[in-house]
Symmetry: none
Subunit: 185 residues, 2 copies
């Protein structure tokens, strides 16, 4: 009963009807009452996660799928602006592949980090996924709690929503090729 970025009620109703189920049918399968489903679909209550899970089990559909269905259904439309371009200090060089293209599904970058170059103490977080391969030198990559030193030929891949940071601890330049989707640049 407040501002929800995703309209759970409408969403559930759409999913239920998509599967050709009545409130009572779904309720019976899910082990809840039809009244509850009615209230949820009207957004008159915000179900507990456990209840929503029970309901979705009756469809059946996973919680993750339920919440990502927006993205799957209408991907390009609802993507917020890519924030976070704080990487741009002088010691980091970023070369974007295909920057002139209007529509791209990825950002591919050729990156060069000078010795001691750092994306900053404040960890980076943004939408999507990113990965890359180290071409030359070494880079220290922190993702979530983990920190690892990667050398030429090593690689990485993670969800960009996890806080991350790049730092070059060596005495020579580090070079790598990265890709992120959806495009951050």
């Amino acid at each position: 009963m407040n501002i929800m970025s995703i309209d759970v009620g409408t969403h559930l109703k759409a999913v239920r009807q998509m599967y050709g189920l009545s409130q009572r049918e779904l309720a019976k399968r899910a082990g809840v009452t039809n009244g509850l489903i009615s209230l949820i679909e009207q957004n008159r209550v915000s179900p507990s996660v456990s209840s929503l899970k029970k309901v979705l089990d009756g469809i059946p559909m996973a919680l993750a799928d339920f919440f990502t269905l927006d993205l799957a259904g209408k991907p390009e439309v609802f993507f917020p602006r890519a924030e976070l371009a704080d990487i741009g200090s002088g010691s980091v060089e970023l070369r974007l592949v295909g920057g002139r293209l209007a529509k791209r599904s990825m950002s591919i970058l050729h990156e060069r980090y000078a010795p001691n170059a750092d994306t900053g103490e404040e960890m980076l977080t943004h939408a999507g996924e990113e990965g890359g391969v180290i071409v030359k030198g070494t880079i220290e990559l922190s993702v979530g709690g983990d920190t690892r030193l990667l050398g030429a030929g090593d690689a990485y891949y993670f969800k960009s929503s996890i806080p991350h940071r790049f730092r070059n601890p060596g005495r020579e330049d580090c070079e790598l090729v990265s890709a992120s989707s959806p495009p951050t640049f």
Copy 2:
């Protein structure tokens, strides 16, 4: 407060700590009480979707990301060179980054073409887009009608539906890093 397939409490705690927040800090940002977060993390309550959303907004993290984020065990983030799956054949070596990950939005490949290596006379066509950066050596890339010789530092980006072909005309290996979306491998 019943059987949940995904352990929301433990999950939230892990996420919170990953962002370096205390229960009280997060509670303050999210506009809920620290007690609630404590109870949720102990799985002594199953939060309503709206509450969970408020809490995640304080991080900030989207609901979809929360349920999609698989931090079971250790999320595989780092991929040492030796662990990159080689899915190439013969004179072409294709090392896939994150091949074990269930859901990826991209395929990132470390590719090596031996002298005279060729993706074949029959042009490749498939869905999506692809791009890359040449790291070492030279490669002859044909896209549509155009053919071009690319050297270290050069790059490419095109729609994969356009017929294309890679060939190494030089006498030394050619190495490049590529990405394609949606994942081809």
